[in-house]
Every structure is written in C-alpha cells, then in structure tokens.
Symmetry: C2
Subunit: 557 residues, 2 copies
C-alpha cells in the first residue's frame, strides 16, 4: 500500500464544525469569531471572563538536539493531545502558527504529520487568520514613523546611525537583509542603511506572544527601544507615539485561534516567535485560555530542550506565572545514532552501540529538565527503520536515570498510538512538580548568560568582547538588569558548534552580540551566526507550487 | 443637536447576520465563508454555478472633477443602492476595498459617510478579510524570486538595471520609494536600485480585479513583464515560475467579500486598484456576481469621470464584456463653485454665478459620458451650506442639456434621501443604452492616448519624447498593441494641470512615461507627477490612533 502524504491525510480527514470543537471546552458559539467554517478566534470579552478560573495541567513537549529533519515535536504534541482526549480527559493543544515565507523556499508545513496533524493544514501554512500580516503591518508602521520623524526635523534627536528597528516581511528574501532607504532626494527622507527581517523575528511578535491582554500589549510595544541618540540614551516606540496605532492593528490578532486535530481535539494555534532571537513558543494568551478551559494542555517549544525548554521555563513560565506539571522529551533512534557519531547517510543502518552512545545527549536533557523541578518522560517517536534493539537501548538508558521512555506510534496510528505516553504523563502530573526558573531576576545579565551556559550547556566558559560587556552594563544601568536572557545559538548541539554532537563538555560559548528587547522583556544573547532573514534556494518550492485542475494546492507540502 | 460623526453612526447601526443579507440575493449560507459575523466571502464553486445566469442592470456612479475633500461618490453609491432597495428593487452595491496604509497618515475612512455607509466600517478600513495582505505577499514573492534568480546565476539573463518589478507594502512610507537592496556581500544577492510602491499600485491588484476566475488570474500573473534582458526582450513572471505560487497565495482573496449597508443592502467590497496607474474600480468578479444575483447593481470608479468613467468603460467594461445601463454623475455646489473660480476659503459663501460658470465642468462630463452611449443623470450631493439658488443653477444647467439633476440627501437621510434619484435611474435603465468603448482595439497605442486626450480631455495635443514613442512602438511590435490605455493624470482637472479648473480647451497633455501592465492588460500613460508610494505628514494620524478604555478605536476616522 502506498504511504499517504501528510497533505493527502489532512485532505481526507473529516472536519467538524468549529462550534462543536469549541463546545468540548464549553466555549459558547457566541464567543467565537468565525474565519471560515473550520477556524475561529476567541473573543476578548469571553477571555476576560475566564480570568479567575483554576488552571489545568501544563505539559511541555520538548526534544533532544535534533537532526536537520526534526524529531517530530509538533507531531508528538498533537499525538499526545489526541491520546489524552482518547483516554477521556478534557485536553487541549497549544501550538505556534507557521511562517508563510519559508513555505516557498523548501517544501514545508508546520502542522504536525501523519495522523497527528492540526486542520485545516493548508490554511494554517498560508495566511491562516491573518495574525502574521497584522504583525507585519504594525512593525512596519513603527518603521515608517521613525523615518517620517527623521524627515520632519528629528525632534527626538535620533542618531540615524543608531536606529535598531528594521522592517519585516513574511518572505524569504535575502536581497532585503541589508538595504539603503531614503534615496532619491530630500522628498524621500533621510538616506540610511537598514534591513528587513522575517516577520517571526519581529519584536512585535514576541510582545504579542508574551502579552496578557491589550493593555499589556500596548505597554510592551511602548517600551520597545527603536533607536539611540548621540548620547546613547534610548528612544522608544512610545516617544514616537506609535504604540496606540500598533495596538489598533493588532487587536484582532491578539485573540487566540481555535482549530482541531484530525481526531477533533481542540487546538489553539496562536503566535510564532523565532526560536533563536526570540523565545519560540505560542502566545501566553492561548496557553492560559487553554489551561482555564481544559484539564490537560499540551504545548511545545522550538528547537531542542537546551534552547526551547530553557526559554519556555525561564522566559514564558517565569513571566506569565505558569508552572508546568510535566515535560515530554522527544527522542528518535536516528537522532541518538547521530549523536553517537553516525554519519547522516548511514542513519538507516542498525547501530545499537551508536544509539547507546548518543543517549548521552538525551541523558543531559533529562537532567537539565529535572533541574527545573519538572517531572520528565521520554517519547520515542517511532520510525519504520528503527529496530527493536535500538529502541530498547533508549528505554534502557532512560531507565538508568529512573525515567520512562515510551515508544509512540501516533504518526501512523493517531492518539491511540500515544496512549501509553498519555497515561504516563497523567501519572507524572499527579506527582509533585516543583517548578522554579534556573536563575533569579536579580543577578547580573552576564551572570545569567554564564549560568545558562554552565548549567544547561555544560560549557566551561562564556567569552565576550569588552564592548558586549559594556553594553550589558549600560542596560543594567538603564534599568533593564532584571530581564531574563533569550539565548540564540545553534539548535544542533549543546555547544555553539553545530557539529559537536552528543553531550560535549569543556567547550566555550562565544557571546558575539547582545540585543535589547525591552518590549518583549528579554535580552537576546547571540552566540554564533544567527540568520534573521532566510533566502530562497536555487530552485525554490515556489517554482512548482500551484493549484491543480481540482483547485487543490500542489507542491506546498 | 450635535452632528454625529461617521464612526458614531456606524457603531450605533444595528447589523444583521451576514447570512440574512446573503439571503436577499438568494445566496445560500453554504456558499458563505464567514469572516466574523458581519463579513463573508462567497465560495468560488457557487460563483461558477452562476455563470449562465442573466445579468441585472449595471449603474456607474462617477463625478465631476473633485475638490480635494471629494464629492461623495462612495456615499452616493451606497445611498443609491439603499434607495433602490427602499423602492422595493433587488439591489446590490459594488465598492473598492480601502487601503490600510493611508489611514495612518491623514484621518481616513473609505466606506461612505453619514447614513450611507457600509459596515463594519472599522474592519473595512483595517485588515478586512486579508485580501490586500495576500496581494502584498504574492507581489513580494515574485520580487524575491527575481532577486533569487540573479543570485543563483541569472539563467534568464535578466539585465539587473532593467528590472521593472518593485516591491510593495500597504503603508505610507516615503523612505521606501527608492532603495538599494542586496548589500552586505555575495551571500545577500546582487546589489541594485529599486523601490517600494503602496499595495494598491501593484499590478497583482489590477490582475486580481480584472480576472474572471483563478485560471484567468494565473494567465494574467504569468504574463506580467518583470524585467528586460540586455537585448530588450521581456522576462515574464511565468518564465520565473512564480505564477502558480502567486495564485495559491491569492485563491481566497479572489473570492468577493459580502457586507451590508446601514440599511442592510448587500454590498460587495472587493479589490481596490489605484485610480491613477491602474483602473480604479472593484473586481470584475464582484461586479459580475452582483449582476447575476441582483436586478440593479450600483458601482463606482475612482476620481472624476474623465479618468474614472473612461477607464471603467474602456478597460473594465471592454475587457469584461459589461454594458452599463446608466451613469450617475455626482456634482456638488462647492465643486461647481470651485470650477467657477471661487477660492477654497470662500466656498462657504453663496455665489450663484460661480456655480453657473462651474457647470461647464459638469456639462463636459455629461457630454463625454453620453458619448459612450450611456444615459446620464446628475446627483447633486447636498451640503448644509448649499443655497436653493445654487442648487437650482445646477438643475438648470443640466436641464439645458436634457439631463435631470436631482438633489440628494442620502448622507443625512439614508436611502429615502436618494429615492428620486433611484426612480430616475430605473427609468434610464429602461431606455436604450448603446454602450461602446471610445476607441477600437486595433489602432496604435499613441493613437489611443491621443483619442482620449482629444475626445475626453478636449486637449489640443499630446506631447511625448521620442523615447516614449519608441517604447510604445516596441510594445506594439512585441504584440501588446491591442491593449487599452490606462491614463494616469491629475484628478482635479481635465488637463494635466491640477489648477486648471472648469472645462479648459487648447491645453496640451505631456505624456512623460509609459508602463506596460501586460498581466492586467493595459498600457499606463503617465501625464504629470504620479506618486505610487505616499508619505506620512508631519503629524500622522497614527500618533493619536488608539483603543479607548471601552476597546473602541479612536482617531482613525
């Protein structure tokens, strides 16, 4: 039998009307703002009325350091949510929205896979409910107001060479990385060098994803530092008077989106900040809405646990007052083999010894996650090429640490394929989670970076130029010292070197650059090359994407 | 009693559920794609099923050359639609969507006024159903693919100095008018000068508004000329392989949007091409859908009749096979006074003589419109400052040409205030309209431009550089000679000089530049300074736009 593709499975799936999905969480139809028949936003007024409700259990799905193909974190998040529902629990799922631009580069899709998908996957991967377009507009309005301010006399005395607010576009477009604007004479403003990032890298995105409500969103937007004066003092969005108009552009986007899985489990898909220069998880509003309406809420964080889980705990949970009840670490036989030293082209061959060696990577993620006081279970996301002995090697390695590692077949079987995982998660949720962030608010910014590097990455040291240290000190002096750190480094290794697999020690983390996200509320620590505007490949997927004679999309997934 | 603002009237208006509005045109609920409870798209499948239905009567609302404040064309379109419904006719309205960007410059709003508005006016003026964002994305995907093509070896041998496809953003941002992209070294592509236009100026917008269906849209997009080679041969969107992916981005946007007026008359608000470098009317799909579902369809075209009506007739009606049954020319006392030589600051003072003199402008628009074989009525859009003698002067001037000029109070009274106008329109629709475009397809491109200039503008001549004439000849040789002309000139005068009011003769039209819109299917003739990316004023509206404590938008309208 031919294996069906994700898109074929998604198209064949029967969708229930979205009010029926909402009813599973007692969301009345009057609280839904429909977007088509299979997507809805939840009205802000209804959300406000939930504020005093008790919260369900929050389960984070994270992963080992992945192979370039990914280990199935979104698929496992969906599968676990479906499994909990399958066992009769009141469950909900929280995911990030997909970025549109990258779909036209490589064949893409960010809505899970196999029988563990959220629907309608085509819409979710295209314009969805327009949230990212609203973020793009709000971001670029602020940019236009900065250049307009320069044009009309620059009353705020912005140093045109020290404007840190770039523009954004939800597109892979390398030619926009570095541009000069304002050319063509005095009528076109002040010439200066700047550039574009992809929309998911916008601080507006991070603000929206961390905001509790519209008022909080406006506060955050107002605090964004857009430029500096010659005397190095900061100029904020609020000083330009842009925060109010930006909130008007974002008022609908702040309302979370409700969709369904193939098994009709409610899924909130809302917000999608970059996992490198931002914190990489869906909106606080979606997570809290889900927690107030469901007993179990399964969510994910971008990249491996060294980045994703750490930022989920130290930024999102710390700031939103969330206490995760359990964490699932997704591991695969192929990722363990890779960490055990097997080359990419040999991953298909059985190699139990390599799996055993590679489990050092898993073991460190387990220890790190437990270090946050959160109980852990390992989900072994099954692939056809896995052998029983290889799977057993992971189970044994986890057992040696007192942790269950449970083979899961949700990709091919849907929720029932992750029922054992779901039972274990329920059990863990009843144990005593004692979540605490890794570091306190009141140590120095560089101390925080060192703490993450030593305790999570097991690095020997963090190196940084004097200029970087001086910048951190300046921000501390300006009152930003209590912010948490948002680490930006490769997702493929605990170190800053993507080729350094397994569980390296003795490595050094080079802190190259720091950026202030005063609106989002964190300081970005950039360790290595970080790309904030992707390019298209030689033959972009866009060349073959089209509608077929039946009006269905070909080439996108 | 305090006069209520447009936004106060709109907010106080009771909206009916959109399926109830659709039912007035026998659109079943199953054919609606809801966007909230008060907006819906009409499904493509339902539209396809209408194809063989007979069409109702198409009524164009156009205007004299306007004052900078506008003469109320949209308001009259809405008022006339409501009046026809009020008289018991099955009526529908077709309008353009509003551009988002300009709202943050000047206080704006493009959804009619007073009691003649379409709802929800805030949504219509902001993101609405996302159509413009989809157009922005499709346009910029093509731009990214062009620069990507240069980066990966330029197999099509595009001359980087002859790329005519710019990028777009739905924002007033003068600093983006002229930019250099691709800076920062080889990894960021090929440096070159280009720029951004506002989204409504995108040829993708014009393509979408002239397309009959998705297949036609893809054909049009494929034909877009994006660049030239060193040998001056054209490179098209299809050669870059972008047309399929662009259609995927636009498939939802091509479906027309249904909303309602304050009086619950169905209104299709769909597409919004610039009225200068494009043809300035709503989508062909919306117009044809409305005509197949209603007996009377009222629509508008941008700017005064010299530009708007001419392009409506010679581009939209010619290409879509539409035959308008009647035209309404909106005139105001203040516009007639202005054309009669009164300065802007004196427009409030009675001046019957000036009105009489100014009616020369109206008279020429009447004659021009009749020249297309379309019966005409004049709507005198009433303002409080108008005196009976001034109104009578317009009525008399029109009567002298055998045309009715009917005072209308739809702004303050809604549909009933335009009932007399509606009765006259119904009467005209029963007379014999013998619509024909101004010029045939098969004369030369410059001949077409001269024909418009002489017959519509009453100009003595058209001047053009040899280079411009050579360009037109080259396009004729390349097979584009049968395209109609899209004139781009000031809307304030029949001439190319905005200060030349009334009905000037003997003037010369300077043809400065020509542009090929091979996808949309016209050649743009630029006569004068045309701005395709507006800037923000010294104090943009964005500085005061915000949500108030009740969550309502302040400062936008």
């Amino acid at each position: 039998m031919a294996v069906r593709t994700d898109i074929e499975i998604a198209r064949a799936a029967e969708k229930r009307p979205i009010p029926e999905i909402a009813a599973k969480l007692d969301i009345p139809e009057a609280a839904l703002i429909p977007h088509g028949r299979d997507k809805a936003k939840i009205e802000a007024d209804f959300l406000a009325g939930l504020r005093d409700r008790p919260m369900g259990r929050l389960i984070l799905v994270t992963a080992v350091n992945p192979t370039p193909a990914g280990e199935g974190k979104t698929t496992t998040t969906v599968g676990l949510g479906d499994a909990l529902a399958h066992l009769g629990h009141r469950a909900a799922i929280c995911l990030r929205e997909a970025s549109l631009g990258p779909n036209f580069g490589m064949k893409g899709g960010a809505a899970g896979g196999g029988l563990s998908q959220v629907l309608p996957m085509e819409d979710i991967n295209l314009h969805f409910t327009g949230d990212f377009h609203a973020i793009t507009a709000a971001h670029n309005l602020l940019a236009a107001m900065i250049d307009n301010h320069l044009h009309w006399g620059n009353a705020l005395q912005i140093d045109p060479r020290r404007i840190v607010w770039r523009r954004v576009m939800d597109m892979n477009d390398r030619a926009l990385r570095e541009v000069v604007v304002g050319l063509g004479g005095a009528a076109n403003g002040v010439p200066r060098q700047t550039g574009f990032d992809i929309t998911v890298a916008s601080e507006v995105m991070a603000c929206l994803c961390l905001a509790e409500d519209l008022a909080d969103l406006q506060d955050r937007l107002g605090r964004i530092v857009v430029a500096y004066r010659a005397d190095k003092t900061a100029v904020t969005c609020r000083e330009l008077g842009a925060d109010g108009a930006m909130v008007v552009l974002l008022k609908d986007a702040l309302q979370p989106n409700l969709v369904q899985t193939i098994a009709h489990t409610p899924a909130f898909v809302h917000g999608g900040p970059f996992a490198n220069i931002a914190h990489g998880c869906n909106s606080v509003i979606a997570t809290k809405t889900a927690l107030r309406l469901a007993d179990y809420v399964v969510t994910e964080a971008g990249f491996g646990a060294d980045l994703g889980a750490e930022k989920f705990f130290d930024i999102k949970c710390r700031k939103a007052g969330l206490a995760p009840a359990a964490a699932v670490i997704v591991a695969t036989v192929r990722a363990m083999k890779m960490h055990g030293g097997v080359a990419r082209e040999d991953l298909g061959r059985e190699d139990v010894g390599a799996v055993q060696r590679g489990c050092a990577n898993l073991a460190r993620h387990i220890a790190n996650t437990r270090g946050f006081g959160v109980p852990v279970v390992v989900a072994i996301n099954a692939f056809d090429a896995d052998t029983p002995a290889e799977v057993a090697a992971i189970v044994d390695a986890a057992a040696g640490l007192g942790v269950s590692a449970i083979p899961c077949r949700h990709w091919s079987e849907g929720g029932p394929g992750a029922a054992d995982l779901a039972r274990k998660v329920v059990e863990l949720c009843d144990t005593d989670s004692r979540f605490a962030p890794l570091y306190p608010d009141d140590i120095g910014l560089f101390d925080k970076i060192e703490t993450i590097a030593r305790r999570i990455y097991h690095a020997e040291a963090v190196t940084a130029d004097k200029a970087v240290l001086a910048q951190l000190a300046a921000w501390e002096a300006a009152g930003h010292g209590s912010l948490p750190i948002c680490m930006a480094k490769t997702q493929y290794s605990f170190s800053a070197d993507p080729a350094l697999r397994g569980a390296p020690t003795g490595h050094v983390i080079p802190l190259r650059e720091v950026r202030l996200a005063a609106g989002a509320g964190f300081v970005v620590a950039i360790c290595g090359e970080i790309m904030t505007m992707p390019g298209l490949p030689r033959h972009p997927a866009a060349e073959t994407i089209r509608l077929d004679a039946a009006g269905e999309i070909q080439g996108l997934f």
